[in-house]
């Protein structure tokens, strides 16, 4: 592998990256290993996959993991119920098992004729064993369909982006096979640019003030859920819609609900503002 046949990822117009994030993405591309992205909620983990897909011009196949998702679902599902039904009521050729094998997202990505980006979103939502069950398939990028005896091998190893919200510990064997990146909370400087990308034509005074308030609120130790990038962007959008031109941190902060999502946090903020120390922090 030389540099000639390898396109580096550099971020896109709407998705700003840092050097270390770019380095991690490029490492994953070179090593052809999955990139595991962790970070606070709302720091753009899922958007990264979209950015890579548009930045490198590859199709994106998303796989949103839920608590009931099994590894097998990602490869293929054998629709036995349909086949049972068909055998009873005689629709179609029941002997052709392939008709009842439906590819899951991982199966599609492996089978695809071109290199694609596969997003395995929120891998920690699923059962503890889920990542372990995927080890072999992600390593070899091939799988076996037991029902038909077909072996499906990837023509082009897909770029795999895995996000995790850290709700569960991931198994070591799984971690060892991934390139890891932790999306850190952006510094004010980068935040300013991120906001500028999302709200290009907003009054700069409003943005400055909103950012100031935002970082002050984030700095409060007593909050249980600290607001992050996406909350700030939403909040500025609301402020803009309401036609406000300035905000400052006081008791009557407008549209606080966009920033703080927990009742205790609202109480804690009000408490802090009134200068009291009703509760220990």
């Amino acid at each position: 592998m030389t540099e000639a046949n390898f396109t580096r990822f550099r971020g896109t117009d709407t998705y700003l990256t840092s050097d270390s994030l770019e380095a991690a993405v490029n490492c994953a591309l070179v090593l052809e290993r999955p990139l595991l992205v962790k970070g606070e909620p709302g720091t753009g983990k899922t958007l990264l996959a979209e950015a890579i897909s548009s930045g490198l011009g590859m199709k994106l196949i998303p796989w949103h993991v839920k608590s009931t998702t099994r590894a097998q679902d990602g490869l293929y599902v054998y629709d036995t119920v349909q086949r049972l039904y068909d055998s009873r009521f005689g629709d179609g050729d029941v002997n052709d098992i392939r008709r009842y094998i439906k590819r899951g997202p991982l199966g599609q990505a492996i089978e695809s004729d071109e290199r694609v980006v596969l997003l395995i979103d929120e891998v920690d939502k699923a059962d503890l064993e889920f990542p372990n069950d995927l080890l072999h398939e992600l390593d070899r990028m091939r799988f076996h369909v037991d029902e038909t005896g077909d072996d499906i091998v990837a023509k082009h190893r897909p770029v795999v982006i895995i996000t995790s919200n850290n709700e569960k510990e991931l198994p070591d064997a799984f971690l060892r096979r991934c390139v890891f990146h932790f999306i850190d909370f952006p510094e004010p400087d980068l935040m300013r640019r991120i906001v500028a990308v999302h709200h290009p034509d907003t009054n700069s005074q409003l943005i400055e003030q909103a950012m100031k308030v935002f970082f002050e609120i984030r700095g409060m130790r007593r909050l249980r859920k600290r607001p992050s990038t996406s909350e700030l962007i939403d909040w500025i959008a609301v402020l803009k819609m309401a036609g406000l031109t300035d905000v400052k941190l006081d008791n009557k902060l407008p549209f606080l609900g966009a920033l703080l999502k927990k009742e205790q946090d609202l109480v804690a903020l009000a408490d802090q503002m009134s200068g009291g120390s009703r509760w220990r922090s």
């Binding site: 036995t80 049972l84 890891f180």
Partner: protein, 398 residues
């Protein structure tokens, strides 16, 4: 220089091995580090570290290892070449995939590439891109702030990896520090046990097919109860007095436990200093519950988690009637109450917010003889949970 760095990481408990080292060699070969220490920092971090809890260790190891390396960067590559050559010889330990990977390299070609890049490096270096901050006094200025600098067309700027590492921005993610609600929720999540019982509402597909086949193709539906979690937890929290400094920590644990959806039942009670005849349903001690009633209600399969600093005056623990509240039942020593709790439940643990180094020479020592005690940190909580999830064990087997 590169191999010792891997060992430096290992000595700090970052799990890196052969696999990671080979990966690092491969990305360096592809030139992803742009022949700079900053690039190396980013690339090595991505490849060698697998969890944010180790990022701080990585920063520290990096600092220790690369402080003042300036010119030695060239050696890094030479050593890497040597190392690759060595790896080629010692290939017996490698798996097929790894061997394949190494065989892609032609050593001469590799060397040529490296020399080319080294020359590039010299040019760039002479061009005034001071990539190691020798002035080193201003942590921000021109390089610090550019840490997360995005290059939309522009140049990377003079940010120094050493300075980045010095900031130790990932300190908060270490897992041996005290924790936040989220980390606690993660820790508690392991405390679960799934069983099938209750109403039969889930379609058991395999059994259905079997039965249908046996039934000569006539549909025969088989149902089974869904998998449910069966963990019941009692959380006993010490409040007031010496626990006040830890109130926020305990309240976070409380939040995490309340939020956890994988407990079939969670009971929370409060006590002050030591458990006597009663515990309380609220932190203001207005709703007492007799411990005997509680034990009668909750079978031994409940998991008991006690949170407290276990610090009190010795008489509160060891003398009958140590509690202020004079009731018949309080004529029993606190330690006896604790022992009866420990005996009743199959699995118990005590989480202590006091740092471990203060665990000697006070009442903590006594209580440790009764309960398995863990510090209230991410690591301690993890250990406590795995202690709780183990099956029945010989009592007090340490």
């Amino acid at each position: 220089m590169f191999v010792p760095f891997v060992y430096e990481l290992r000595s700090r408990g970052v799990p890196v091995g052969m696999q990671e080292a080979i990966n690092l060699a491969e990305v360096l070969e592809a030139g992803l580090h742009d022949s700079s220490l900053e690039g190396f920092y980013d690339v090595a971090k991505a490849v060698l570290v697998h969890s944010e809890t180790h990022l701080d260790d990585f920063d520290q190891a990096f600092l220790k290892h690369f402080k003042g390396v300036e010119v030695q960067a060239k050696k890094l590559k030479e050593e890497l070449l040597d190392w690759l050559a060595e790896a080629k010889e010692g290939m017996r330990e490698l798996t097929d995939a790894e061997r394949e990977l190494l065989e892609k390299y032609d050593l001469e070609e590799l060397q040529r590439l490296f020399h080319e890049r080294m020359n590039e490096q010299d040019e760039r270096h002479d061009g005034g891109n001071k990539w190691i901050g020798t002035g080193g006094t201003s942590p921000f200025g021109h390089s610090g702030a550019a840490r997360e600098g995005i290059r939309v067309g522009g140049a990377g700027g003079n940010r120094s990896a050493i300075k980045v590492a010095t900031q130790r921005r990932f300190r908060a993610y270490r897992d041996d520090m005290t924790l936040d609600v989220r980390q606690m929720a993660v820790g508690l999540r392991k405390l679960r046990a799934l069983t099938r019982d209750g109403a039969q509402v889930e379609l058991d597909l395999d059994a259905t097919i079997d039965e249908t086949a046996k039934n000569a193709g006539e549909l025969e539906i088989v149902l089974r109860p869904p998998r449910r979690t069966n963990t019941r937890v009692i959380l006993l929290m010490d409040v007031g007095g010496s626990m006040d400094p830890y109130a926020h920590l305990v309240s976070r644990l409380f939040t995490a436990a309340k939020k956890a959806t994988h407990f079939k039942e969670l009971r929370c009670y409060y006590f002050h200093n030591c458990v006597y005849g009663k515990v309380f349903e609220d932190a203001r001690f207005t709703k007492p519950v007799r411990v005997r009633d509680m034990l009668a209600d909750c079978g031994p399969h409940y998991k008991l988690i006690i949170v407290g600093d276990a610090l009190m005056a010795p008489y509160e623990l060891l003398q009958a009637g140590g509690s202020i509240d004079m009731n018949e039942e309080d004529r029993v020593e606190g330690i006896v109450w604790l022992m009866s709790l420990e005996e009743h439940f199959e699995r118990t643990c005590w989480l202590n917010p006091e740092p471990e180094k203060y665990w000697g020479g006070n009442t903590i020592e006594y209580i440790r003889q009764v309960f398995e005690m863990f510090p209230l940190t991410a690591e301690g909580l993890g250990n406590a949970v795995s202690h709780l999830t183990k099956g029945k064990s010989a009592r007090n087997a340490r």
